[in-house]
Amino acid sequence: MSPRIVVDPITRIEGHLRIEAQVDGGMVQDAWSSTTMWRGLEQILIGRDPRDAWYFAQRICGVCTTVHALASIRAVEDALDITPPLNARLLRDLIGVSQYVHDHVVHFYHLHALDWVDVVSALKADPQQAAVVAQSLSDYPRNTAKQMTAVQQRLQAFVQGGRLGPFANGYWGHPAYKLSPEVNLLAVSHYLDALDFQRDYVKIHALLGGKNPHPQTYVVGGMAIPIDPNSQYAINDNTLQQVRGLLQSGLNFVNQAYIPDLVAIGKSYPEWTAIGGGLNSYMTFGDFGGAQPKRGQTDTAGILPSGIVRNGDLSKVEPVDPMKITEDVARGWYSYREGDGTPLRPYDGETTANYTGPNPPYDFLDVDKKYTWLKAARYDGIPVEVGPLARMMVGYAAGDARIKPLVDGALQTLGVGPAALHSTLGRTLARGLETKLLADQSLGLLDQLVANIAGGDLAVHAGVKWEPKSWPAKARGVGFHEAPRGALSHWIVIEDQKIKGYQAVVPSTWNASPRDAKGQPGAYEAALVGTPIADPKQPLEILRTVHSFDPCMACAAHVIDADGTPIVEVRVQ
């Protein structure tokens, strides 16, 4: 058996992720996913005002910069039985949906594209021909020969300068790169355009939330931004027009650049519909545009679906039972009082850090023991994948009126059947499809907000339970949010107006999970098995599959102590 290959840091993700993989016969035989950073946010939250929790929780991640704020607010509202007004719910949906469009575009072009696009090859392209190819794909206005020439010259100057900056040391020329120089050039051109696009589009968050990253506008019970068509200090017609223009620009960019580029990549890499599937069981909590969900339940009436698909069986969708969510720490650097292999529900969770890994600097983790700062999250005892593929799978299996035709159309374009979705490329495709879905629906959400305001409703906050003295002595609640990277839940226990316990079970906790007490691997680990590796020194293929999940490690590694025992032990072997 050859020594394990190590990829650390996995770059072009959020946070700190390490993959160790056993490669034999040109193929990954086994893989271990390790999160190598922990902050202890759980302990920091204990004893604080529950109304502040969203601001702390938001800092779990600056990439998914809205999602933890929203899940946290919903957890407190669930605990205190608060229903925010319709305007506030729609504003949250607009911020959330635009987060998807922003985040997925950035992921596709800036975090994932370089796994498929050889930047150096673009230097060899014929810019005229690149424009012809680009124009055959879409009517994107910047698909001109002039633009392709300018981008190539800029790239040329960059390379001649001898300092490649962020493009240095890429796996350029790797045999797994298959796009023509012309397609590579058009992708580089759109990579640069997407930088401009994301910078402008995210102004939606500034308009509705004061700033981005980390919009500062959520409050328990509603939103902090006032609405008044007759005031220049509130959301008025001017604000709404600007938001509409930006939402439309998002829809245009997705339709004219993202989707055509995605299809071009999909057609060029058909073998990746048979690689990187993994668990084949999926979970999604649902979100956006529906009525206020019942207390303690997921949103079953939103644009995004809620449900479970087991073992790739698309013939049935189970409803989500939140009480079936558990976590164990058999292989994570924590200890449980009743034994590390005991599955605990989030309300009963514990977090006692217990680092038993090697003393840095080290070459390998001891993967037979504990090897990560993640707990193993499980649903009804099994590992599940969450994220874009889970949403499209559950929506497809449920016959969702929007999702099914969207997925069928894409499958037809690529000439493959639904089974091809259980793959690296399927995951990347699903992300693009749902971006289109939500970019489309975003304008409808804005229409609803406008109509509600036109009807005279200016309320943004339900203030009856704002003052802590109006709260019960004890309360607990859960906030669900279907975040861009997957199913997210925050769980809070409130006692005497203070946080007694707080736990977040996060999308990347599900996907980047280590083995559990029964030895079942997590989603990354399962997906990597069977991945071909052309050159163990340049494991480009590992990046493709891991990036297809869009890892977010700061999110994942911050499991939270519901019990409030601030004990931290660090033992170094």
Partner: protein, 409 residues
């Protein structure tokens, strides 16, 4: 201590403050896909951000355009990547990319193509040459090396190695500048600021949660223009960005002075843009150019959008400014009939005491309100966060310049 970058490119254009920009520079700008007008406009913005006289704009432009690709190494430790995301939001990207094209971003995990060994090689090569600008996001855990490792090395090991020979360290965000969220009580990983681990390299702190990218580009422009880091306060924050109190530049200040406050989210006062102080705004205790720059290319800022300031650029704000919605002490007895002058005096006098007490009181509450049966404490002072600076009417935390140089040399 030396803050002169190694071998800056000699430029025939950089020497005059008001001189014209020569054709060579223009050609280079065109090469980079930038037209002269928008470039100069951007340098005007930088100049304004730096609080320099407008006559400096051409000098900034010349220096920025003539720079010889100093290397940037961007490290992330106990972070949320919010500052890297903020960097992607730089206004006028054509020009921001000039900065990027002119800085060689040799290591930045969020965007770089290379991974694993190849990425570490890129980092070590850039560091090996020396003279690099080290940008750091996230705090450094001292409670155990296992709390943050990258490529098998601990945050401390990487930081010490990468700061060797660096021309300067720029800490982006409150975590690397002051310890930030991981260092909030009870600081489970014993997280500290970069400045607590590294010595011998000049440091610029750009706190904020996250930092405003316009302050980063302005800091870099200043460095390229004057071959020196901008003048800083005792917490190493540039005066051009952290010299003024938010409250003093707040467009809602008039309402404060007139006693007009929003009392509930969405009430009439809130809709009319009244002062947010009763809803918890910490603008009176916070030094930052947020109201001037705003966010996302000047689109909006938190107070403008109706939520109070939480003091995110102040050291220890997670403990000293919480609970966020507790108002600073209530001031009775003034209304619209009082004169502004009289009010100003009353308010300054009463709140100066109040704000000072607020900081102390909240810290005590936070300490007592949680399990504190371990040794860690709420480090509100963090060596330099004098509570006096949270008082009304006091000056920002020291204006001494550690480099002994004035900003515009």
């Amino acid at each position: 201590m030396s803050i002169v970058p190694p071998a800056p490119a000699p430029s025939q254009t950089a020497s005059t403050a008001n001189g014209p920009i020569d054709d060579g520079l223009l050609a280079r700008l065109f090469e980079l896909g930038v037209d002269r007008r928008s470039f100069l406009k951007y340098c005007g913005v930088l100049t304004a951000t730096l609080a320099l006289p407008p006559s400096f704009a051409p000098r900034v432009a010349a220096a920025v355009a003539a720079a010889d690709k100093p290397s940037m190494v961007y490290l992330a430790f106990q972070d949320c990547t919010g500052n890297a995301e903020s960097m992607l939001r730089a206004r006028n990207p054509d020009i921001a990319s000039v900065i990027l094209d002119l800085m060689s971003v040799d290591y930045q995990e969020t965007v770089m193509a290379a991974a694993g060994e190849q990425s570490k090689q890129a980092r070590d090569a850039a560091v090996g040459k020396g003279g690099h600008i080290l940008v750091v996001e996230g705090s450094v855990p001292l409670g155990g090396d296992g709390y943050c490792t990258i490529g098998g090395e601990s945050a401390q090991q990487i930081l010490k190695k990468a700061s060797k020979g660096a021309a300067a360290i720029i800490n982006v965000g409150t975590c690397s500048a002051f310890g930030g969220l991981p260092a909030a009580h009870p600081n489970p990983t014993k997280a500290v600021a970069v400045g607590d681990v590294v010595s011998g390299v000049p440091i610029v702190n750009l706190p904020g949660c996250p930092m405003n990218v316009d302050n980063l580009t302005a800091t870099i422009a200043h460095y390229l223009t004057f071959k020196a880091l901008p003048a800083r306060d005792s917490q190493q924050r540039p005066l051009f960005a952290y010299g003024d109190r938010i409250h003093d530049n707040c467009p809602r200040r008039g309402h404060f002075d007139a006693g007009q406050f929003a009392m509930a989210w969405g009430d009439e006062g809130h809709r009319e843009g009244y002062c947010l102080y009763r809803l918890g705004c910490k603008g009176p205790s916070t030094f930052h150019n947020c109201p001037i720059l705003k966010w996302n290319g000047g689109t909006q800022w938190p107070i403008g959008a109706g939520h109070g300031c939480v003091g995110c650029s102040e050291a220890g704000f997670w403990d000293t400014m919480t609970p966020f919605y507790d108002r600073l002490p209530h001031i009775e007895g003034f209304g619209v009939d009082s004169t502004a002058e009289k009010l100003g005096l009353t308010v300054v006098g009463a709140t100066a005491v109040g704000f000072g007490l607020h900081g102390v009181g909240k810290t005590l509450q936070n300490k007592l309100g949680r399990n504190s049966d371990e040794q860690s404490t709420v480090d509100v002072t963090d060596g330099s966060t004098d509570l006096g600076s949270a008082g009304f009417g006091s000056s920002p935390a020291g204006r001494d310049n550690p480099d002994g140089k004035a900003g515009p040399a």
